[in-house]
Symmetry: C2
Subunit: 500 residues, 2 copies
């Protein structure tokens, strides 16, 4: 059999894997959007069976042999990408014993319940035992996979392939001080915007039409996607031709749906821009969660919370919500949507303080995985860091270390990708401004073709051709750094807060 026949075999295998995995994604999407409530138990079983089949297909020895024969023996760049990334996934999958996979699944199913209960009752102790067990299992998992520097790297690699804790630490260390300082300057500022208008009444029916229009104007293609409602917004789907966004509508808070939609539509634009001809293969898939998040944050914040954007759309927004915004001048609205305020809850945090929430989580989960922080000391460590970074202390753990779902499913190594997304976004955006000098005028005219074209050309079309760090360096000519982000927020927020 020739190498190219073998490669065809590999493609067939991974496309079938893709059919299984994308079916699971649809089962999940449906569970979050339209499934009747009584359907959940059976749905879990369907998903479990299909996931197991998918895992079996992922760990078939025949796949390993194909990959071994094809490694370094491919015809072109695309094939090399697919072999490289499939080998990485295959190696990770076969290294972890089935027993450990099952125990992780079982423990996290239970932990999600004890976490929810602990959060509801504001009692960390209720979650402590399962969390300890999950950490032990994840340590064992990381050891099975192996690592060069830190055990945490093996976990981080799942979400941000090729990235190491030491790199994250380096960039977070350069971010932490200046960011905390800027937050303090904002706190001390005498000029402050007033966000109260965002809590007036915004009828859901109008928000639906409005949000759909906002997704459409930035380029989301509804022939190849849709938007529905779910409790926790997400972006899912089956390749570039079927991208599913969700959002949620709060009638007494403007930001939730509008910026939530722009965020998810940013993810959706990445998905719709991936190369269809490489569907279901790594070459046609997003390269990392960090890069994915850079796309959502750029559209949500750098475009969606910018003055040029609202110069174009604020009059329409006032017409949509006359009772809430009819008497609010643009400048006041712009200040409101860009209010900076240290707060307890990550998902409600503004652009400036958000990364500090992530630094806190990264440092804590690193210590938990290293074993230098005991689980019982987690609440105290959390509150101390919250005080150090943001100057505030939560009254209870539901506003502190129990707020996020991630750890309850064993998702250690996930949090850093949120902050990496913000940093990548700023670094890309700095380059965008050089390459599209009249970006602000274009935005003010509601024209996003050049920006979307830039993202398509520089990022989307490559799928997983380049790992995140390499991609960033190719596109911007320099390695990832906190500098562009710090420059961006200083330039944007200093005028809003009257800082020199």
């Amino acid at each position: 059999m020739t190498a190219s026949t073998k490669y065809e075999q590999l493609l067939k295998h991974i496309r079938e894997l893709g059919h299984l995995e994308s079916s699971v994604a649809l089962l999940d999407w449906d569970a979050e959007t339209y499934m009747p409530s009584a359907g959940i138990e059976i749905r879990s079983e369907q998903i479990a069976t299909l996931s197991r089949m998918s895992h079996e297909k992922m760990t078939e020895p025949a796949l390993g042999e194909l990959l071994a024969e094809l490694e370094g023996n491919t015809d072109d760049d695309d094939a090399a990408t697919n072999v490289r990334e499939m080998k990485r996934t295959y190696d990770r999958a076969v290294k972890v014993p089935g027993r450990l996979v099952e125990e992780l699944a079982r423990t996290s199913t239970r932990a999600k319940e004890t976490w929810a209960q602990a959060r509801k009752e504001r009692k960390f102790e209720l979650f402590e035992k399962d969390l300890s067990r999950l950490i032990d299992l994840r340590r064992e998992y990381a050891d099975a996979i192996g690592y060069e520097e830190k055990r945490y790297d093996a976990l981080l690699d799942e979400y941000e392939p090729g990235m190491r804790a030491s790199q994250v630490t380096a960039v977070f260390d350069s971010l932490r001080g200046p960011l905390s300082e800027f937050v303090q300057q904002i706190a001390d500022a005498s000029q402050k915007p007033d966000p109260s208008v965002l809590h007036r009444h915004y009828p859901e029916a109008t928000q639906k039409l409005w949000c759909r229009q906002m997704a459409e104007v930035i380029g989301f293609d509804f022939k190849c996607g849709r938007i529905d409602i779910s409790t926790h917004p997400f972006c899912s789907g089956t390749g570039p031709q079927d991208v599913r966004l969700t959002t949620r509508y709060e009638e007494d808070f403007f930001n939730a749906a509008t910026f939530g939609t722009l965020h998810e539509a940013g993810h959706g634009l990445y998905e719709q821009g991936l190369p269809t001809e490489h569907l279901f293969t790594p070459r046609g898939e997003a390269t990392s969660l960090g890069i994915h998040e850079s796309q959502s944050r750029m559209w949500e914040n750098m475009i969606g919370r910018s003055m040029p954007f609202w110069k174009r759309y604020y009059a329409q927004c006032q017409i949509a919500f006359p009772d809430a915004l009819g008497d609010v001048p643009l400048e006041k609205f712009y200040g409101a949507i860009n209010t900076v305020e240290p707060s307890f809850i990550r998902v409600e945090a503004d652009e400036v303080t958000y990364n500090l929430h992530i630094i806190l989580r990264f440092e804590i989960e690193s210590d938990l995985i290293d074993g230098t922080l005991a689980v019982k000391d987690l609440p105290a460590a959390w509150n101390q860091k919250m005080h150090d970074l943001l100057g505030i202390t939560p009254a209870h753990d539901a506003d502190g270390c129990l707020q996020d779902v991630h750890w309850s499913f064993g998702g250690f190594g996930y949090f850093p990708t949120y902050a990496l997304g913000n940093l990548y976004a700023a670094q890309f955006f700095e380059q965008v401004r050089k390459d599209i000098p009249n970006l602000d005028q274009q935005t003010e005219s509601g024209k996003f073709d050049d920006l979307l074209g830039w993202l398509r050309t520089n990022i989307h079309q490559y799928g997983s051709r380049y790992r995140a760090a390499e991609l960033a360096e190719r596109v911007t000519g320099k390695p990832l750094s906190a500098e562009p982000f710090l420059n961006y927020i200083r330039a944007k927020f200093s005028p809003i807060y009257g800082l020199g």
Copy 2:
């Protein structure tokens, strides 16, 4: 290994099959309801892969061995049912060569397109070649499966297990004459209802709320199901706890959504009434398409088009659609929804003429499979039979032999189940009237608990425990016959048409 351990193994195997098949059902449902238009190509691939996996799982030799060992060696009645029905499905699946399955799939994919084109252009010749090929393949398919009396039996058995063409012929023969005669009497009647009010304006938004309420009043449980929109209404889902109905709204035709919803909700009530503890096994599944159709037709016609039902709901209906029905008295409305009129299109046919459409199709497809009718002579044969049975002749084949999709996917043997459904419904309903003497008063009070309870107890709870014919005989004390149906329509329609 003990027999009961083997049975556990069998259950595990067929439940996993169920997870795959029900995932395919959801992929299909989504394709018909929410999928963005560009998603269809990839969706077909997903479905093809999962269907192939499901076929592989269905034909695993290990499954055949398990079934062989368990046959006649089961602990209880439920196990015996599951072994019997799985063996039937397994035997059918392994007898058909993979080559034939693939060629059928390929040919019907093409045939669906040529059929659509032929129907659009009203040119039977465009479809003739693919139809001939499909008939040849289905004959080959039937021969692979085997049969005792007629080749057609092997096809019919797929939809109506255990039923034979000779039985269908016998019952249709006793139906054909009296029914044609009654249609003629109605055509000659001097007193006729006027259906024109059904074509006034019925706003879609109101119809949605109205139809949901109608489904709810007859007992459809929305915690365990939902209703959405699709071009061709259907009932699908994942077991009793997640039943998906669809309907379609026509603003200028009252019947489409209201009776369409009652019909699909009738199917849905059967699905919701199947025993959850036997989910994904034959014991927990509908026993035949004919029995399924009996449930939908009973709720749609015997309840939904009855005077007691509208005595209860017509005032509400007038309030919902004041412009269309405000000036229409109940009697006039009742006549309108029960208008009998020979017409060309099966799916638009009334209760009385409907079965004649089916008899026509059954006779023609039997002859096609037998080889006693040449494909090129199909249009002429159709038109002749249409004239003989209904006294009308279609002007072109789009209103004649090209109207239905079934043959284009090779679905020979499917049509009879529609008429069997009507006959089973009438026979069950005759028994219902004996067992619930005050049924009309209950219906007039909007109380359907007793009727639904009767269906649950006598039909739904049994799943595939009994084949259709056996079930009917157990429930009604006599074999399937056309008599109850003929009595039902004579009793109902004679007063409407002022017949003696």
